[in-house]
């Protein structure tokens, strides 16, 4: 693989991280990650407890390193005085700046006009007017399709979903959160048009009401609330469950992806692209259940179920996000070699349990790599 191809993979990894939720969320995580990496080596030993300056919650570093377990409260037995506060580091380059740098480096190949267009899209994506613009497009096109019948609405939403979750996301034209919102609208629509008893006639048009909300995500959340209020809570639950099933299947497919004849860098790039797709679905599921929880008329059982679902999907989403961050850190394969060395060291010391724990953390807990590499890493190749 030549230098240009490596830069293209680096850009892809950064870009996935930047858009999977939204640029602002990604930049915060990025800064926190750098602040952690900036700590002196002796403070980064696994087993320590951390808190980001000005943030709530505590992070327990996994024994094998490279990821941590979040605790909202400090568990009993952990001395608060032992918590390492991770200071914020001003002036660290943002993901945006790194992406822009890589793009400008590729101008000779991609063409200056193309590179400038991509940068303009990145600027628009993080601008304060972006959310409102996307909301208006979905609302206007949806309203337009209303007059043409059920199939026209379904077709429009399917087309938007396909574009948002793939090409538009890759081109920095939409955020993952917006793709997740369209995913929810499409799934909700499919449930509502086949529901028995039928949804009230005035419900579907509310799906595309842009008034009083600032983003597509908020428009979707309000519509989910409207569905619950209109007695269509079961349809909403089923719509969200359908996406969860899709997310689980996408995650499983990615994790079991085989390398075939792919270059290792390209193989991993495809793997992380699959994780991003799973993350979009989990994001939609979390947002969907969080929106259901806003409805005051939920029964205790339904509320408990929705809370449970938020919790369960959160576990999956954070693992996908963590892996996407890890992908950026391991572009040169150095992390892979470190994990492998940790396994070798544990085995050399006769600590098979520790070696297994490293492998299990990397592949089963945080899935930094596809399962096909488990044996390869274990055997030292």
């Amino acid at each position: 693989m030549d230098a240009l191809e490596r830069k293209a993979l680096a850009y892809a990894a950064l870009q996935r991280l930047w858009v999977t939720l939204d640029p602002a969320s990604a930049e915060i995580r990025w800064q926190q990650e750098f602040a952690f990496m900036n700590l002196p080596a002796e403070l980064k030993a696994p087993g320590h407890w951390y808190q980001h300056q000005g943030d709530s919650g505590y992070i327990e570093y996994y024994p094998s390193g490279d990821a941590g377990e979040f605790h909202a409260e400090l568990p009993a037995g952990i001395d608060a005085a032992s918590i390492i506060i991770i200071p914020q580091v001003p002036g660290f380059p943002s993901i945006y700046e790194d992406m822009k740098g890589l793009l400008l480096d590729s101008a000779a190949v991609q063409g200056d006009v193309n590179v400038q267009r991509i940068i303009a899209d990145m600027d628009e994506l993080r601008s304060p007017t972006h959310a409102s613009r996307i909301k208006s497009i979905i609302a206007a096109d949806g309203f337009g399709a209303l007059a043409s019948g059920k199939q026209a609405i379904a077709d429009d939403l399917a087309k938007k979903l396909q574009a948002f979750s793939t090409v538009e996301l890759q081109r920095n034209k939409v955020t993952g959160f917006e793709a997740a919102a369209v995913m929810l609208l499409y799934s909700l629509y499919r449930q509502l048009v086949t529901a028995t008893p039928a949804a009230p006639a005035n419900l579907i048009p509310k799906m595309f009401d842009p008034s009083g909300v600032s983003s597509l995500q908020e428009m979707t959340a309000r519509f989910i609330h409207d569905c619950c209020a209109a007695g269509m809570g079961n349809a909403a639950s089923q719509a969200i469950d359908d996406i969860r099933l899709g997310g689980d299947a996408t995650l499983a497919a990615s994790r079991s992806m085989l390398p075939g004849n792919l270059d290792p860098g390209v193989y991993l790039d495809s793997y992380y692209a699959g994780l991003q797709q799973a993350a979009l679905r989990f994001l939609a599921v979390r947002w969907g259940w969080q929106s259901v929880l806003v409805f005051a008329g939920l029964s205790d059982d339904d509320r408990q179920r929705a809370e449970k679902r938020v919790n369960a999907v959160e576990e999956k989403l954070v693992r996908c996000e963590t892996a996407l961050m890890y992908a950026v850190k391991d572009l040169d394969g150095s992390r892979y070699r470190q994990q492998q060395q940790a396994i070798r060291d544990a085995r050399a010391a006769g600590d098979e349990e520790k070696a297994d724990a490293v492998l299990s953390n990397v592949f089963d807990s945080v899935f930094f790599y596809p399962e096909a590499l488990k044996d390869v890493m274990s055997k030292g190749a």
Partner: protein, 154 residues
């Protein structure tokens, strides 16, 4: 803990993986690590083997059904409160008891293990999505039977 037991526990933990939030208290914002998955894998395996030994001992068919579901739920609750050391010792004991029962009544293995799998799925499905509860229960049964076969061959 024997290497076979450890391997079974790990296989179940691996199956639980990102679905761990399905089996932990709602509203608890806590991103779990591998050790938690491993502990949960051990708990499910213990509950399965304990229920298997009990059902086989009480003649399959007579005590299955709702009572078995309640028994498994109690087992899971009880095991979860034990320390890792207590769990390891208990897992060895319960495996040994289940293996004795399997050796004494090999003709009941398939039917009893299927009934226990179904009851375990029912217990887990009270909190978790049913497709996930079914998948994890099937894995627990597969690993438990593998373990019992190895014990029988030893």
């Amino acid at each position: 803990m024997t290497s076979e037991l450890e391997e079974a526990r790990r296989a179940i933990a691996s199956e639980i993986g990102p679905d761990i939030g399905e089996f932990t208290p709602a509203g608890e914002k806590h991103l779990f690590g591998w050790d938690d998955m491993l502990a949960l894998g051990g708990v499910f395996l213990m509950a399965f083997l304990a229920a298997f030994a009990k059902s086989a001992g009480e003649e399959a068919g007579k005590k299955l059904g709702a009572a078995l579901v309640d028994y498994i739920a109690e087992q899971i609750k009880a095991w979860r409160s034990k320390s890792p050391q207590e769990q390891s010792a208990a897992l060895e004991n319960v495996t040994s008891a289940a293996a004795k029962m399997a050796a004494a009544k090999p003709e009941l293995m398939a039917a009893v293990s299927a009934a226990v799998e179904s009851a375990l799925a029912s217990v887990l499905g009270k909190d978790a999505e049913s497709d996930i509860a079914d998948r994890i229960s099937a894995k627990v049964r597969q690993q438990a039977l593998k373990l019992l076969s190895l014990q029988a061959a030893a």
